[in-house]
């Protein structure tokens, strides 16, 4: 039994923190929010060069043979700095290919993904559709002259405008399958959505986009079950990302409370504020407990859906609450756009409603426990 991180994991954490603190200051995050691509391709290359993109993929495909816990450690550091990059989206898509792809598809795509040469995004939900509700997916592969075609709209696709290819989830012969579509293809139209957190989610419109049979992921019998599992894993990674941010927010708040003097003493000496910070601290500790439980189980190949829902619901509310308390404690300066808190404040709320909101996850968990 070991509740600590291994030596290599601690080194990974430290080197990630050093790199990101240097390369990804708040000014950079702000700059990328206004940027067309939303990230810097040169930085993406460097990240890939560090082995981060391929961290959890098998070395057979140029990956680092890393564990899920390794990935969790890295993603947490990214969340601390709000790294603008198509990281989670590409890794998620890659894991889906790894789990469900044919050997040829894996050979064809994974090495380039690990090297950072291929940016990939999953396109699942449609307008009006809810996450983890496969019945809401209506897009159906049509047939035209022996070829499969896709028509319809997908929403919330991260970095679709930079993606080299998209994994489109649609029905085929009554089962949900995944179709590998190159973004350059005729009939694909991608538009970035303007969102509160400037997180580069996109609308993707497909109009008779042709998909050769070998671009259907796996054996064509349906990929939803596996995809759902991958999405739940991503939810756990998002928890680590959120907690990296929450820890930074708490740190920022404590530091401010030590410096800011009003009424003759540092405001951090006031009990009410001390209790708010202690509450944040306790909540973060409990959220890590749940995130670790889920992450460890994923690494061991155990059933983890219940734990993932526990972690996502709890952590999202923890992060949102931390940003709100921080806003209250840090006052006017933190409300200004040139302060870093607004970045976390917006991102927390965005992540709360992504990959299942807290109420949805609690209902999924209740279903497991009670039905």
């Amino acid at each position: 039994m070991d509740f600590g991180l291994g030596e290599e994991q601690q080194m990974l954490k430290k080197s990630a923190r050093d790199f990101l603190e240097r390369e990804c200051p708040p000014s950079f995050v702000r700059q990328m929010a206004d940027d067309d691509k939303g990230y810097l391709p040169q930085m993406w290359e460097r990240i890939a060069g560090l082995g981060w993109v391929g961290l959890a993929f098998p070395s057979q495909y140029g990956g680092g043979d890393g564990s899920f816990i390794d990935l969790m450690v890295l993603v947490s550091e990214m969340g601390r700095c709000l790294l603008p990059a198509p990281y989670l989206s590409t890794v998620t898509a890659g894991l889906h290919i790894l789990r469900s792809g044919t050997p040829q598809q894996k050979e064809q795509l994974l090495p380039d993904i690990c090297r950072g040469r291929l940016v990939v995004s999953l396109a699942i939900d449609e307008p009006g559709g809810t996450e983890f509700a496969p019945e809401d997916i209506r897009m159906e592969a049509g047939a035209q002259g022996g070829k499969l075609t896709l028509t319809g709209t997908k929403l919330w696709v991260p970095f679709a405008d930079s993606a080299d290819c998209l994994l489109i989830v649609a029905l085929k012969d009554g089962a949900l399958n995944t179709f590998i579509v190159d973004t350059g293809q005729p009939g694909t139209e991608v538009r970035p959505l303007t969102t509160m957190a400037a997180d580069h989610q996109c609308e993707v419109k497909l109009n008779g986009v042709q998909v050769p049979p070998q671009q259907v992921l796996g054996d064509g019998g349906g990929t939803w079950r596996d995809l759902e599992s991958i999405l739940m894993m991503t939810a756990v990674l998002v928890c680590a990302y959120m907690l990296g941010g929450a820890e930074r927010v708490l740190e920022m708040t404590v530091n401010y409370s030590r410096e800011r003097v009003q009424f003759g003493r540092p405001i951090g000496s006031m009990q009410a504020l001390q209790h708010h910070c202690a509450d944040m601290s306790v909540s973060i500790e409990a959220a890590w407990a749940l995130t670790h439980e889920a992450a460890w189980r994923i690494g061991e190949g155990l059933d983890f859906a219940a734990e993932a829902s526990m972690a996502k619901a709890f952590t999202a509310e923890c992060y949102t609450r931390c940003t709100q308390l921080a806003m209250m404690i840090q006052g006017g300066v933190a409300f200004m756009e040139d302060h870093e808190l607004p970045l976390y404040y917006r991102r927390a709320k965005a992540l709360e409603v992504m990959l299942g909101d807290p109420d949805a996850h609690r209902e999924m968990l209740a279903h497991r426990i009670l039905d």
Binding site: M196, G332, E337, D338, K349
Partner: protein
């Protein structure tokens, strides 16, 4: 809690006025200016100013009715700016201003000229005793030097209510004065600042700015005392607007929930959503009651500190809780910015989630206000 006939007529008059002026009109800065002008013409910006000074001499309850209705109808008028102008400068002037000051300035307020607030400095937020801006008496004027922060109306209004040190030798409570300063005076420079939701405010640099002596409000060195005495009004500058605004957005959210489905049923049928909505309605109702109660207490001449603190805390927490739960209820579509075709409620709630975050800290954070409530009103020992 029944309004009398005059008050009920007043509410109806506002409702009718808003219908007439706003129905079918597209919101724009021009409309806002036009609308505000017409409100001023009706004398409604001088509701509580005594008739002899050009106002309508109406009661505090009228003020609440005005703010509530205007907010509920999303009238394009800055209730906060006009509200503060009266509640800060107007109230203080009525209580402590010279007759000459009253005769000169109160009619201006009644006619629609608002006065801004110029207290905060980089080192003096909630704690106004840390103000350092100096106003040195030089014959017929003060020479003001210093730095002010988060002065939101410096670029829109003609005059502002400055708090500055007039007696540096005295303890701060006895060394601050209030005076009316003209924005855009020689010696004044301004740096614009942008905050969340596009909120615009300013940093002010004052270098020997001239303020005529007759612009001193009340007595020299009494500024802090006026500020403390005025707190209940300061905390509620737009008294009644918060429940009014919340009611509007609450109703919009309810409509959205009745017409939007998720996982095969209307949001309005989801028990979890229903709980959140019904809790919100309860809180709005309580907030509304508190606003009218406080106004009634003001009319009766009762002590207002406790109710003002309780109501402010309650209002802020209810308001911010609503913004938070509304964003959760809206889910991912709620993230879409204004202008996105699929943004629910026109994307306004994500804007409010950002813009309204100002309420976490403006006029004192809830934590600070709770401390005041505990020590001043509930009698717990001071730290």
């Amino acid at each position: 809690m029944r309004l009398d006939d005059d008050q009920r007529r007043f509410r109806q008059e506002i409702a009718d006025f808003c219908d007439t002026e706003l129905a079918g009109r597209k919101r724009s800065p021009q409309l806002a200016a036009e609308f505000t002008g017409k409100v001023a013409e009706k004398g409604w910006l001088g509701l509580n100013i005594p008739v002899r000074y050009g106002g309508l001499g109406k009661s505090p309850v009228h003020r609440v009715i005005f703010n509530e209705e205007m907010a509920y109808r999303r009238a394009p008028i800055s209730l906060g700016m006009y509200g503060r102008s009266f509640m800060l400068f107007g109230q203080t002037c009525l209580r402590h201003g010279s007759e000459a000051m009253k005769r000169k300035w109160l009619p201006k307020l009644a006619a629609g000229e608002a006065i801004g607030q110029c207290y905060t400095e980089p080192e003096a937020g909630t704690d106004v005793t840390r103000i350092q801006t100096r106003a040195v008496r030089k014959g017929d004027h003060y020479a003001v030097t210093g730095q002010k922060m988060f002065i939101t109306t410096a670029h829109v209004l003609k005059h502002t209510l400055l708090m500055a040190v007039t007696d540096p030798g005295a303890p701060p409570e006895n060394g601050l004065s209030m005076m009316l300063m003209e924005n855009r005076s020689p010696g004044m420079s301004l740096t614009p600042l942008t905050a969340m939701g596009g909120y615009r405010t300013n940093q002010l640099f004052l270098d020997d700015v001239r303020v005529p002596v007759e612009n001193l409000v009340g007595e020299e060195n009494m500024g802090y005392h006026y500020y403390v005495e005025n707190k209940p009004f300061y905390l509620h500058k737009e008294q009644g607007a918060i429940p009014g605004e919340m009611q509007y957005f609450f109703e919009s959210l309810v409509s959205h929930c009745k017409s939007t489905t998720r996982a095969g049923r209307y949001l309005a049928s989801d028990p979890v959503v229903r709980q959140k909505l019904s809790d919100t309605q309860s809180r709005i109702r309580a907030s509304r009651h508190l606003a009218y109660k406080m106004a009634w207490m003001e009319e009766q001449g009762l002590e207002l500190e406790r109710i003002a603190l309780e109501t402010r805390i309650f209002d802020v927490e209810a308001w911010l809780a609503f913004n938070d739960l509304a964003m959760t209820v809206l889910g991912r579509p709620g993230q879409l910015s204004m202008g996105e075709e699929r943004a629910p409620l026109g994307g306004v709630l994500q804007w409010k989630y950002q813009y309204d975050a100002l309420q976490y800290s403006t006029r004192g954070s809830p934590s600070y206000t709770k401390t005041l409530l505990a020590t001043h009103a509930l009698g717990m020992p001071e730290h």
